[in-house]
Symmetry: C2
Subunit: 213 residues, 2 copies
């Protein structure tokens, strides 16, 4: 499965219409628009952020944003899909070998680090699902499901290998992911414990939850 997506959802930039011209800034302005939108939406919410605010943050007038997105809805969707794409691409490097316990620990560490490195994208991806059109929502749900299934496969592997004690792998998968993602709501870099300690504690909680023998 190719998890990568086109730049626009409904408005593909075919041909060379946006090719670089002397004095153009499109190839740097585009990412700046996305970054500003992500930051503002994470802080204030999609509906509360106006195109004018995003434009001001980038140093543009509002009308110029429509060179970079066909509309506000697509801007949100592209941010969220970009996050899920990045998540699944990053998982492509995950070991498909090793014991269930090794693969479980790798998943836990991966999930924690990936999410803590992108607090704004995580926030937006969890909070703004209700602001998507039904089609866009379904697309993201499918991507999220692909990710969840990777953990469930590990749990089932551990169960058949006799090293995990899990009553329901689907529920345990959702419960573990919710537990790990919750870390993003309270973690602070200058908090009481270093990240390595927190990772160890969460790994231990997960070991207990799946009944590591």
């Amino acid at each position: 499965m190719n998890v990568c997506s086109a730049k626009w959802s409904q408005h593909d930039n075919v041909g060379g219409k946006m090719a670089r011209k002397t004095g153009s800034h499109g190839d740097i302005t585009g990412p700046k628009v996305q970054a500003a939108a992500l930051r503002l939406i994470a802080r204030h919410g999609f509906a509360a952020v106006s195109m004018r605010q995003i434009a001001r943050e980038v140093g543009l007038q509002a009308g110029a944003l429509y060179r970079y997105t066909p509309d506000k809805q697509t801007l949100l969707f592209d941010l969220m899909r970009g996050h899920m794409d990045a998540l699944l691409v990053a998982r492509e490097g995950a070991a498909m070998a090793g014991t269930p316990l090794i693969r479980l620990d790798e998943f836990v560490r991966f999930h924690i680090r990936f999410h803590l490195e992108r607090p704004d994208a995580v926030f937006v991806s969890y909070m703004e699902l209700r602001n998507l059109t039904p089609e866009n929502f379904a697309t993201l749900e499918a991507l999220r499901r692909v990710y969840e299934d990777q953990l469930e496969v590990i749990l089932r592997f551990g169960v058949v290998a006799g090293v995990f004690d899990v009553v329901d792998t689907k529920i345990s998968t959702l419960a573990i992911i919710a537990m790990l993602t919750g870390l993003t709501t309270w973690y602070r870099e200058d908090g009481r414990l270093p990240l390595a300690d927190i990772e160890r504690i969460y790994t231990g909680l997960v070991h207990g939850a799946v009944g590591v023998k």
Copy 2:
């Protein structure tokens, strides 16, 4: 600590100005406004819902809403504080006696049931924190902290009694609450498993996470 709050945050209804008059509907319209606002905000988000939409849902004109709230921000805050008040009031009936394991299981069952019975209030209370003024946010954080501390007390009790194996009671508290609350994002009444089974599974996950001996 008295966890109950006044009807308004900043705009108390002192005296008898709103006493019942012939033909008045205030004592029934008020709750209807709150219910409509909660429902709409849960579905679309605070910023996306207009006072006109809320009024239409109740069968009023927009101006009439201002008999029931001084402004939109206070309406949101009152919904969220009402939820936390109800949570803490409901916990007043919780057993302060019993073994750590009994009290832990009672907390897990309570949390699951209370949250599943109020999906809209749970959603709003977790998603709209960023739309509160700093003062209102601080108030809610304090109430949430009181609730979390009840679980942490149980975990510490189990540790000193030698029946739980918890490395860090604060982190375990937050992790367990995140895990349990996550249930509200996927639970459906007509789902694969009856609630009693789901409760048993989550209770087992929590037992593992706290290292029940």
